[in-house]
């Protein structure tokens, strides 16, 4: 029932769109009726284009997420555990963080040229900051009583990091990674649309430039679907991975 209510608007919208374009006899270079979009989508799906391009985009985005996020985990742990380092880095972070990753496209182009390296680097840059900032906050705001506990039990610094600090911060790190995954996808598609001959963004651009609106809309819908799937998969993983601890983190 809820699903039907939710579907009522988009289905009605599609129907009106179709009827309007057919009744008015519009043949446009920028618009296509939903029926043609569906046909175009079927075409790129069957000839393998969509799977190839999706693979490229996801590979670049996820590689960037892994590299940028991974470096950020190390960085944030050091920031959190060494306050002097955090104070030293504060200014640099505040200057570098607001730089829009897409503003680095020209530099990345000069250094890496077209291809995966450039796209992965920009995704990594974009993913670094959310993970670093969230992670730092997670470590600094760890429950003080847990730190007291680790002292009362005389845990070594290593045991404290591995048994108390990281597990306590882990759910928040995962949230940071989930948000960064969305950022990585945005940056990957943007870079592809702007310049890089790879992935779904490039395919979308190609369709637009060859005046093929049905195909363009098909790619657009597909990109939206990828984003939705990625978020849903990570949300599912978050619930499964953290179990009761994940519940606790979300209750806070």
């Amino acid at each position: 029932m809820r699903f039907l209510k939710g579907a009522a608007f988009p289905l009605g919208f599609l129907a009106l769109w179709e009827i309007w374009m057919r009744a008015a006899g519009i043949h446009s270079d920028s618009l296509a009726p939903p029926s043609q979009i569906a046909v175009a989508f079927y075409g790129v799906l069957v000839d393998g284009t969509i799977l190839d391009r999706t693979g490229q985009t996801l590979a670049a985005a996820l590689a960037g997420l892994a590299i940028g996020g991974g470096l950020a985990v190390v960085f944030s742990v050091v920031l959190g555990l060494v306050p002097t380092f955090a104070r030293l880095m504060q200014f640099s972070i505040e200057v570098l963080r607001p730089v829009p990753p897409v503003a680095l496209i020209p530099i990345a182009m000069l250094i890496f040229g077209f291809g995966f390296s450039m796209e992965i680097t920009l995704c990594a840059f974009a993913c670094f900051w959310p993970v670093a900032i969230y992670g730092h906050a997670a470590i600094v705001n760890i429950e003080p009583q847990l730190l007291d506990l680790s002292r009362v039990l005389r845990l070594s610094p290593w045991a404290r990091a591995v048994k108390i600090v990281l597990p306590a911060a882990l759910p928040r790190y995962f949230v940071a990674f989930r948000l960064s995954a969305a950022v990585a996808l945005i940056i990957a598609v943007t870079v592809e649309i702007a310049i890089n001959p790879l992935g779904v963004g490039f395919e979308l651009m190609k369709a637009a430039q060859s005046l093929h609106p049905a195909r363009m809309f098909a790619m657009l819908l597909w990109i939206g679907f990828i984003g939705w799937c990625l978020n849903a998969a990570l949300l599912f993983a978050q619930r499964r991975l953290f179990g009761p601890a994940g519940l606790a983190a979300r209750a806070r």
């Binding site: 847990l146 007291d148 506990l149 002292r151 005389r154 045991a159 048994k163 601890a245």
Partner: protein, 260 residues
């Protein structure tokens, strides 16, 4: 002011302890001795430095002036034979570890071999009435059970001193009484020395051998009341005992008069 039982030297001793947080003095001129196997309760309003005193014995905080001694030696770092039971059980247990895992943490910290842990954990959980809950997570337990789990983790250290910071403050009356008796039974069988902070005057009298009343701003020892009620204590007969009622009146009046 110091009134340790004659003869034996105190196991825990505060000597001329002063402390301040920033410019606000929290403890002034604290002298107190606690004998081995003694149960001492500290009562007083918020801000009288009760928790600060416990943290000093635990080695979590060094006094600015004076010293805290344990076994005749100055307390510097936390020690294995001193266990600390935290007030807020929901924040003192590891939510990502099961009940067994939480007890295991203390065993791991003491360097108990993996093979020996399972048996120890089972024994400790049985001792606090949590047998059969090994695989549950703290969030799935009631407040009373979480506090039992904290007791088990403390016992895993095999401590000779148990420090408790208002451990039963957040529990309902029935659970609280059950845990008081459980605690007294465990203390009796292990011979531990206990330092217990509470807001609840009756709880203090019921549990302890001596009640230390503190005054706030800055925290200082106002009076120490010895409790001579027969042991083992009993929720009905002890609380109806004429000596219990007399002490309750005396300390209650003392505290009320102390207030401006």
């Amino acid at each position: 002011m110091t009134t340790e039982p004659s003869g034996t030297p105190p196991l825990i001793e505060f000597r001329g302890v002063h402390h301040a947080f920033g410019r606000r003095p929290v403890l002034r001129n604290i002298d107190l001795g606690v004998a081995r196997s003694e149960f001492v309760c500290m009562v007083g309003p918020s801000g009288c430095g009760k928790t600060t005193m416990l943290r000093m014995v635990a080695g979590l905080l060094a006094p600015m002036e004076g010293e805290v001694r344990y076994h005749g030696k100055k307390v510097g770092e936390p020690a294995h034979e001193i266990a600390f039971m935290f007030q807020d059980y929901s924040k003192a247990l590891l939510p990502w570890r099961s009940v067994a895992g939480n007890v295991s943490l203390a065993l791991e910290a003491s360097g108990v071999k993996r093979a020996a842990r399972a048996d120890r954990i089972r024994g400790l959980l049985a001792k606090v009435g949590l047998a059969g809950h090994e695989e549950q997570f703290p969030m799935q337990l009631s407040g009373g059970m979480q506090q039992r789990l904290q007791i088990a983790r403390c016992l895993a250290q095999e401590p000779s001193v148990l420090l408790m910071d208002e451990p039963f403050g957040a529990l309902d009356a029935m659970t609280r009484q059950a845990l008081q008796d459980e605690l007294l039974r465990i203390i009796r069988t292990t011979g531990m020395t206990a330092l217990f902070v509470t807001h609840d005057l009756e709880e203090a009298i019921y549990l302890s051998d001596r009640v230390v009343v503190l005054h706030p701003n800055p925290g200082r020892i106002a009076q120490i009341f010895p409790v001579t009620l027969p042991k083992p204590r009993n929720q009905l007969t002890t609380r109806e005992h004429s000596e219990f009622l007399r002490l309750r009146h005396e300390i209650f009046n003392f505290i009320s008069e102390g207030e401006p």
